[in-house]
Symmetry: D2
Subunit: 200 residues, 4 copies
């Protein structure tokens, strides 16, 4: 009934909310992603705080492209866990087949949101599997996180890129280079959502 | 029983076979994809034959990365058609939401297999929706082809790139430039599968 | 002297200024790029104004990744025009070799800044070469625009994506969907630079 | 005179030869790249030989897309070394500016030639800078390798992907899975150039 009256229309808030809800249901906290960011960035910015890392993870997750990739990946993980995909795809995703690669492609669309400077950070955490990534890669749980582990690494890499861009703006302000008031906002405590970002 | 004894191991032939089978089940023929290739390439190569176009489509489809993207995309289309995805993703894929974009990302991983020269051809057919693409975009059928229409355009664009590379090799041979015997094979009638390609 | 005292430090304003200056020197106006945007988007948004198109082009050009690609591409065009590249690269860029493809790769890094939904628009204008793109492709002038024509098409495609995201936010507001004050800003007349954007 | 008689025509062999020549002139040997491949792949394939690694590096370097990226990147490095780029670009490339990112974009077009499974390996070596990458990153030499170090890591990552695909074919043959004669060729000693590959 409701459907009959209500033609489809994208509801951005519903998509954003679902992204947070599904990350939570699949056992990943923003704090864990923020810890990956800290691991990647602390040597470049010794004063970096966990609050800043969490904030930047939130900003990445507020991007529509990121939400689409997160939801699609988690959906495929869940369907594989429930054995509901058709045969060769079911086997490849369930077993995190190394030659599958579509998980990396979705992850990359996340990294790309903040440009190419995140490529290296993504590859690095995806190889070393620190923190939450080690848990997501534990194949003994019965859970399938073929997409989610790459996605979490990609969100952390994108947040790292975002920090690098913001810190540069702060540095230029300190050097007295020409800047605009907007550029001088610190990397943390920036609450206004930005280009293509929906607020959390 | 068989499963218990047989640990997972990627079966490349099963993946290749499933790719062909699912394209067929979803109503797309190689000939229709080849017609897109002809449309894209005939002005550059007036002597291009449909046989060559079909052959190059087959070669694209024999690539593992292409198969993975085709299977993943068709699986998501089918699940959306059956209403089995979770809410905001279900709505976005079922309605081919313009701001979704993961379909384009998978399509792009197909085009990329033959390099950046296919980007333009992909965008062009995806915008104009000629031939089979028009049918796949008909929203009145109840079928969902949100992924498949982009995938079919991407396969045609990749086959076009493959033809461009091969025709160059033929041209260099005609000019008497140094080449190797392998390079002198015509773009058509080349039966040996190539780099990363599994034969059809 | 100045160099000896002043160690290297990225000056974002200098990079942004150079981007505008070089586009101007190479004969491309923001208005011409905005005309491509209008061509691509007017059928979706009949009320779209040239002011909005120009504004969105400016926002795209304020992104660091876009500036880096624009400057690198124009530099290679100029060096090819002056005959200063080493042989096979000189020939390929000077003659806009179809199998070169690095120009498309740079262009794509621009489109990607606003996500995958711009892929199609990029391919479409790059194939049809309307307006300014036709002039940039005129090989009889002695000028080399192998990179610039792809870059201009990519900026227009990215601006189109930006408009699509903004218009969705406006539409959701009109539907009374939950939103934040920031989301309700119109696509035009938005002056605050955004995420990763430096003001012009 | 020669120019007047000889219209431009792509000479694939000249492009391939220049790629090898310029890598050599910039001080990078195939053996050093092969050592990165060994580092990345030996834990997965204990029997992997240096001969196989060198062979797979050669196969990657025989791809047209790879050659175009290598030549373009080295050209920009050399021009930066000679101080011949225009100001903000000169500074960014000369100083390997972390927020520049076009070097990573070119590198990525190389990794992509063998699909998304190489993303991780690229990021990993690019972060850790083992072997030849450490030397290329030594900023005290006066040489500029802003592009080349990313390119070398990308070639190694692509060669790793190629090995992974080939080893799978060998494994399937050993398991008695259906295959074609072409698939059964070992990863090493495969001399026929392949799809889009020009022989060395």
């Amino acid at each position: 009934m409701a459907d009959a009256k209500m033609p489809y229309s994208l509801n951005s808030k519903a998509v954003a909310d679902a992204t947070y809800a599904w990350l939570h249901k699949r056992g990943v906290t923003l704090l864990e992603i923020a810890e990956l960011v800290m691991l990647l960035q602390q040597k470049y910015y010794p004063g970096l705080t966990m609050d800043e890392c969490v904030h930047n993870v939130e900003m990445v997750l507020s991007k529509r492209e990121v939400q689409n990739a997160v939801l699609t990946g988690i959906q495929l993980d869940i369907l594989a866990e429930e054995g509901k995909l058709f045969p060769p795809l079911q086997d490849m995703i369930e077993n995190d087949e190394g030659l599958y690669g579509v998980d990396e492609i979705l992850a990359f669309s996340i990294v790309n949101v903040y440009g190419s400077i995140g490529f290296t950070n993504y590859g690095y955490v995806d190889k070393l599997k620190p923190g939450v990534l080690e848990r997501l890669n534990d194949k003994s749980t019965g859970q399938v996180h073929t997409y989610l582990d790459d996605i979490v690494g990609a969100v952390a890499a994108a947040a790292s890129s975002r920090i690098a861009h913001r810190k540069q703006a702060e540095r230029e302000k300190d050097y007295g280079l020409p800047h605009t008031p907007e550029d001088s906002e610190p990397a943390a405590n920036k609450t206004a959502p930005q280009d293509g970002e929906q607020p959390e």
